[in-house]
Amino acid sequence: MAANARLKSFSMRDFFDRERNLGIMLFMAYPFFLGIWLSLTDSMIGRAGQFIGLRNFVDLLTDTIFHQTAKNTFIYALVTVPFKAMLGLGLALILNRHMRFSSPVRAAVMMPWIVPTALSSLGWFMIFDPVFSPISWLFRNMGLISKNINFLGDPILAISSVCWANIWRGVPFFGITILAGLQSVPQELHEAAAIDGASVWHRFRHVTIPSIKGVVLIASLLSIIWTFADFQLIYILTKGGPANETHIFGTYTYQIGLQATEIGMGAAISLYMFPILAVFAILLLIYLRKEQ
């Protein structure tokens, strides 16, 4: 009887829902499992490899370029996010104030986020040009420097420059997300706090911050995940150079997997990202579930 009841309650709609879900799962999972399989082989482009277990992963542990890549990726992802969050918060507070032309201004500040990364990266490529940089030109004419700034050729400056370009690109996302959070804070709360004698700082500290805390956290987690998996900006600016000082997982994967054609090893490099990104994704999911 129970089986009959279950059968009756199983409609065609359920059937298609399940099919669809299965389709989506296969669609999403196939490249992932293919990547895992490749990482366990010595495959090269155009040449099927043999199963070699975890050798690619073990080899990478002794590869100094991989160490440099991992270090760069952490710097790139973790250093940029606090700056993006702080600058985004400042931007959101400014945009939240009533001013003339607020709509066009809000649209304009989204430009770095909307413009295709490949295009904006080319802009930064010109700004950081070792010979024709407008910044170097300006500082030289002001008498502040005697030779051009080696933005992308000096180890410290190179990673700082790519981080700066990433911050520029990411601030609008934080700005608009936090702005949405700010606008959902009831005005009455601010008014009540003001009546109670709270200063502007205290109202910001005890009313605004708690109200937007969740939004900032979600934006930060998403930003870390995206920045970790970045590729375009670094590839256009430096291709991981000079001397691998700006390689991140994405660009090193590309270099090994496609340029050096070691697609098995390339898959292993990118899979090293997986547990790290999984931690951030789980944190995000836990937070969202708690909020619900």
Binding site: G46, D63, V131, N150, G153, T238, G241, P242
Partner: protein, 449 residues
């Protein structure tokens, strides 16, 4: 009605039947002599299935008219043979990944392979020995650098069409100012690396440093670093293709000189330069000399004649172990996954005929080195004496991975910029030995597997 042959000058009358019989007999003789296939081929272009398409992928040309000429040639053959042709020209760094994707998933029939790529894709390329050997034989044999690198073992997986390489471009007036003898004629200058750096030191002091790309770029940085390494007695591997021969005392000493030279003679921002930075820096008068293809000179001739008049080329300097150029063979190859292999082969056979190849090669005016000996004496080399140093390069050519073969390991070391990054690390950190040890360790990871 039969014919009646008569003696003397009388006309011989032939009936229609006689004519047909005589024709048939002639054809029979020709067929027995093996002429029939040739006659038929000459009379009729190869027929390809209706709707046949050929897609060709190669690197973009610095000499734009040559790219246009190539497209026209492909079009001409396509129209004559009823084949739809398409040619794509990619930025150099994007070429290999695109070929890799095409090997995996299809998309192109003919691809341009750079040094070592024939080894990387050796299981995915069509054997083209017949076309290549006919081309080589017809033109006096291969130049030495082609001989060293165009085959994968005994297999010929592409037809060599040359190599575009750089030499030292320099500003005549600034070299004169720095006291370089015979500065007005680069063909009379023969420098060692030490002498070259000494001139650079004076040029930099006069406000005109040398410029060199050491970033992650596939052309100029390895084109400069490999010859410098060889000239100082080091190489990636010994002849066995396994034993690392990178960390040599002479090379460490040479690297110390390079670090010093970099500080004294070069624009130090070169650590981030790519293949295009030095062109722009030279043409804007920021640097006095750089390792580059003749593209700088050609661009100057077109747009800045005053810079072209003040520019000459010299052979790359020599070191204690001699003079070397990093020359690998570029080939046109057919992917095995192409659905149009017969058409692609016919096209390549046609394109490598003297007329097509000669027109194309000459249109580059020396930018593309000759793959075959015949072109060493081609009039194109004598049109402009400033191009003469390029003509001599094939004599000094050495493949990547030398003294081993230019195989997939050598290509991998190139793709990972190991040699170039060793130089970049040396000038960044100032420690020649440490940088070379790092490079040797990385090479061991590649060649030791």
């Amino acid at each position: 009605m039969k014919s009646h042959p008569k003696k003397g000058k009388e006309r011989v009358k032939l009936s229609r039947r006689d004519f047909l019989m005589a024709g048939a007999a002639g054809l029979g003789v020709a067929a027995m002599g093996g002429l029939l296939p040739d006659m038929l081929l000459a009379a009729k272009a190869p027929a390809f299935k209706k709707g046949t398409k050929l897609s060709i992928l190669q690197g973009s040309y610095f000499i734009a008219p040559s790219q246009d000429l190539y497209k026209r040639q492909a079009q001409e053959w396509g129209e004559a043979n009823g084949v739809e042709m398409s040619c794509d020209f990619l930025n150099w760094p994007d070429l290999q990944p695109k070929i890799a994707a095409s090997v995996q998933a299809g998309g192109y029939d003919i691809v341009e392979l750079w040094g070592g790529w024939n080894y990387l894709y050796k299981d995915n390329l069509v054997e083209l020995g017949d076309i290549a050997e006919a081309f080589g034989k017809r033109n006096g044999g291969w130049e030495r650098y082609v001989e060293l690198s165009y085959k994968v073992g005994n297999r010929c997986l592409g037809v060599p069409h040359g190599y575009s390489n750089g030499s030292m471009a320099y500003r005549i007036s600034w070299f004169k100012e720095a006291g370089c003898p015979n500065a007005e004629d680069g063909n009379k200058i023969d420098l060692t690396w030490d002498e070259y750096f000494a001139i650079g030191k004076k040029c930099k002091a006069n406000g005109h440093p040398f410029g060199q790309a050491l970033g992650h770029s596939t052309g100029d940085p390895p084109g400069y670093c490999y010859p410098y390494m060889w000239a100082h007695g080091a190489m990636e591997v010994e002849k066995d293709g396994k034993t690392i021969a990178f960390n040599k005392p002479q090379f460490v000493e040479g690297m110390r000189k390079f670090i010093e030279g970099w500080k004294d003679a070069y624009d130090e921002t070169g650590t981030s330069w790519d293949d295009s930075n030095n062109n722009r820096a030279y043409l804007s008068g920021q640097i006095s000399s750089t390792f580059n293809g003749s593209s700088i000179y050609f661009t100057a001739k077109k747009n800045q004649p005053e810079i072209a008049a003040d520019t000459h080329h010299i052979l790359i300097p020599k070191g204690p172990a001699g003079r070397f150029y990093w020359l690998d063979t570029r080939t046109f190859a057919i992917l095995k996954n192409s659905k149009n292999v017969p058409a692609a082969k016919e096209y390549l056979k046609w394109w490598f005929e003297d007329k097509q190849f000669g027109d194309w090669w000459r249109s580059q005016e020396g930018y593309m080195l000759q793959p075959v000996k015949k072109y060493y004496t081609d009039p194109v080399w004598f049109k402009d004496p400033k191009m003469a140093p390029f003509r001599e390069q094939p004599k000094y050519g050495q493949n990547m991975g030398f003294a081993g073969p230019p195989n997939e390991k050598a290509a991998m070391a190139w793709s990972k910029y190991i040699v170039v990054d060793t130089f970049a690390k040396a000038v960044q950190g100032g420690d020649a030995k440490q940088a070379i040890e790092w490079g040797a360790e990385q090479l061991k990871r590649i060649y030791g597997r």
